[in-house]
């Protein structure tokens, strides 16, 4: 294959279609200077269309098994769709993407589906899907530095996965990272990843919104580049989840994709990826998308109940799915647009529902974080309602590794999450170190409901 891509280019474009202002990707700009809306990265779709769907599929398939840099990244093996101008020497990668599509016949049968896959975005360098966006952001920063833009550091406000991914990729790039967080509300344990990766972590005597305000001020003036999700570069990385899924399914499209959402950048990214794959002829239809919210932080669910005719922020209450505890999502307009295009649904999950969904599916060998629990709870509920029909094919996006949520798992199995089924809590049993006593204990287990639930072939 000898495709040439010299004509490809991308730019920032205002998401407000009636404005439509555009900006060079090398500009330091996060919101439209004309109308204040968010920006998105816009590709020259006509230039991309000079390559046929079949050629794109063959190109991407040829790179999937390649051990050559940068094809060992699931972002940069689709680089023409991401940032076509970035040079090899500018790419900051830790092998993100290419995550496994977990499949279990027993789990598929448990849900009464035709097929169920869990897209394991959390089995990654820093343990969450945030790596997908950060490789793009840091690579573009390196490109800007090479182009003469003065950037002294990258910064974000976050106490979770975003700060972990930013600090790791910044360290890989050799670029200082600065993390802002509300003092007294976040422990060192929550921040030990960015602390380990050498980021400057600053605790501000304010709340999270106060931190966002400061990071926006600081990044306006000081050669410090903003890495929060309002920077749409990150979407370009997360977008690749969609073509990667259909590629792993031999270019077949599932009936449904379920994704948890708080700030709602990720569902927009997922939609953008599928739309691009369809527009460029790699697939011939779109899946339906389910956006799953925690009931304690459900502004989009409430809007969905009114057919998206209005949207009101809510005061988000604490939820075990802490990363999506957001009452006023920054990407809500993008998300609503996506859900309308994808004949989408919004579902919600209570604390008990998300915890039980996570615990039940762990019994099939998964190890789910609470956000994936929200998505799986939505699947249980939509199957019960019949919205997702028997025999359909579903992909659930898992956003983080359960290893980041030991406390959540402990709390569940210690029976400390109200409203959950105590039979699902697994406990450690004590026993004398004698073969007879041990065999008694084993016998009880093997004849118990919990062991029978596990068994399928014995």
């Amino acid at each position: 294959m000898s495709l040439t891509f010299t004509k490809l280019k991308a730019e920032f474009r205002c998401i407000n279609d009636s404005c439509g202002a555009t900006y060079d990707l090398n500009e330091v700009v996060y919101e439209c200077r004309k109308c204040g809306s968010l920006l998105q990265v816009s590709h020259d779709i006509n230039a991309l269309k000079e390559t046929s769907g079949k050629e794109w599929r063959e190109l991407f398939d040829s790179r999937l098994g390649s051990v050559k840099f940068p094809n060992t990244s699931g972002i940069w093996n689709k680089r023409e769709w991401v940032l076509p101008h970035v040079q090899d020497s500018e790419i900051v990668t830790s092998g993100e993407g290419l995550s496994h599509l977990f499949h279990s016949e027993r789990l598929t049968k448990h849900f009464g589906l035709g097929d169920l896959w869990i897209k394991q975005c959390g089995i990654s360098h820093t343990g969450s899907f945030k790596d997908l966006g950060m490789t793009v952001l840091l690579s573009q920063v390196k490109h800007m530095l090479n182009s003469g833009t003065k950037i002294r550091a990258v910064a974000c406000a976050s106490s979770g996965d975003t700060s972990a991914a930013l600090a790791s990729y910044a360290a890989k790039a050799g670029i200082p990272a600065i993390i802002f967080l509300p003092a007294g509300k976040v422990s060192q344990a929550q921040l030990i990843q960015p602390v380990s990766n050498g980021a400057k972590v600053i605790a501000l005597e304010t709340d999270f919104d106060g931190c966002m305000k400061i990071v926006k001020e600081v990044t306006k003036e000081a050669g410090i580049y903003l890495a929060n999700s309002m920077n749409s570069l990150r979407i370009e990385g997360q977008k690749t989840i969609a073509p990667e899924i259909v590629q792993q399914l031999e270019w077949n499209v599932p009936d449904w994709v379920i994704i948890p959402g708080g700030n709602l950048g990720n569902v927009s990214a997922l939609g953008a990826g599928f739309e691009m794959a369809k527009e460029l002829g790699l697939i011939d239809k779109l899946p339906r998308i389910v956006l799953a919210q925690a009931e304690n932080a459900n502004p989009l669910y409430l809007s969905y109940l009114k057919n998206f005719e209005e949207f009101s922020p809510v005061d988000a209450k604490p939820t075990l799915a802490s990363a999506i505890q957001i009452g006023n999502p920054v990407s809500v307009q993008k998300a609503i647009r996506t859900l309308k295009k994808f004949n989408g649904i919004v579902e919600q999950a209570s604390e008990a529902e998300l915890s039980e969904a996570s615990a039940k599916t762990d019994l099939f060998g998964l190890y789910n974080d609470p956000h994936t629990g929200v998505a799986l709870a939505a699947l249980y509920k939509l199957r019960a309602k019949g919205t997702i029909a028997k025999g359909e094919k579903v992909v659930v996006i898992s956003t983080a590794h359960g290893l980041k949520f030991t406390e959540f798992k402990l709390k569940f199995h210690e029976g400390k999450i109200p409203g959950t089924d105590p039979k699902l809590a697994n406990v450690i049993r004590s026993c004398k170190p004698e073969v007879g006593a041990v065999m008694d204990e084993i016998g009880k287990f093997l004849n118990s409901e919990s062991a029978l639930n596990l068994k399928d072939i014995l």
Copy 2:
């Protein structure tokens, strides 16, 4: 390619060459019934040799990009070398293997090497390299069940990565798992993975050796299959690390491979993989191997100092590298044989050395567990001595994800590990939420040694 592999077969063989007893892989046997030695899986090497090295390379390369089951596993895409008789329907996989070879030009330069790669075996389904062996063990159990062997459960004694991997893969297979651990010495937090995956976790009122004794007794009689590392099936999975590394390096062989070791099964597996690749003509030389031990649990290091002429178990002292706190390693004879064949070296690392090595390399974007810290400390020491020469090419095996070791990271950055350089500890700074005060703080950081250490292109 139309290779046929109907003749391939494998069996258990006693590692004691003067005994040489063999057993069918479907037999429930862990130690030689004639002489009591450990067993190894022995392949019909002549049958394997009917396929040339070039054909093997092409076959394996053709599978690397394949999305078809079971090639999405780094074990089963090399199935002829692992368990050739296992059928598709018997394979229990969660997408293990295929882990990224992390590469950083800055880190390579930091060590003064020609190339340095970190093989990220810990970025995996359960967060450690143990997945590689457990997929093989559970698949063989399913094969045995299909062949009529009566197995009611799988069991191991372990409080760490082994129990997590066993419970997860057993749950995936639908086979009950039983975990034994010493009561009062292990917290639920350490066991929350197997607890979540529905294993029966039994706390015995004894020490770890007492647990091993019970599990060996129980698995002798009761249709309960032993999954501890003396079961050599696990080695067959771990063995694939070696061909996978050289495949990722386009079938080039690094000068050195460094691996941490406690019970010493893993270094034997690594050696077996390289030997098989050489014997079958995929590579034309072997790397040198460094086995890295914690100074607090260093019996093989002490033996190495005496040219392996004698070996004495030690009382292992507590080490941050808790998984290799083993004074009397079960696979010591296999390991010594491997190190002799590979012109190997044993190096040791103190608690301060392993902690500093981990912390320093985290500043390049890694997030190392303490065992990888032991391996990296060995690299620092061997570079300082000149044993590993400037410009050489090195692969370090990372065995677990840092997310499993939050306490270790916290302890380091809180300055609680004696003898470590306080300048390496990163702390969270408090600040008023005012742009001026924040900019002062940022300015101090950007001009500080810690930020300068990160920078390479600004």
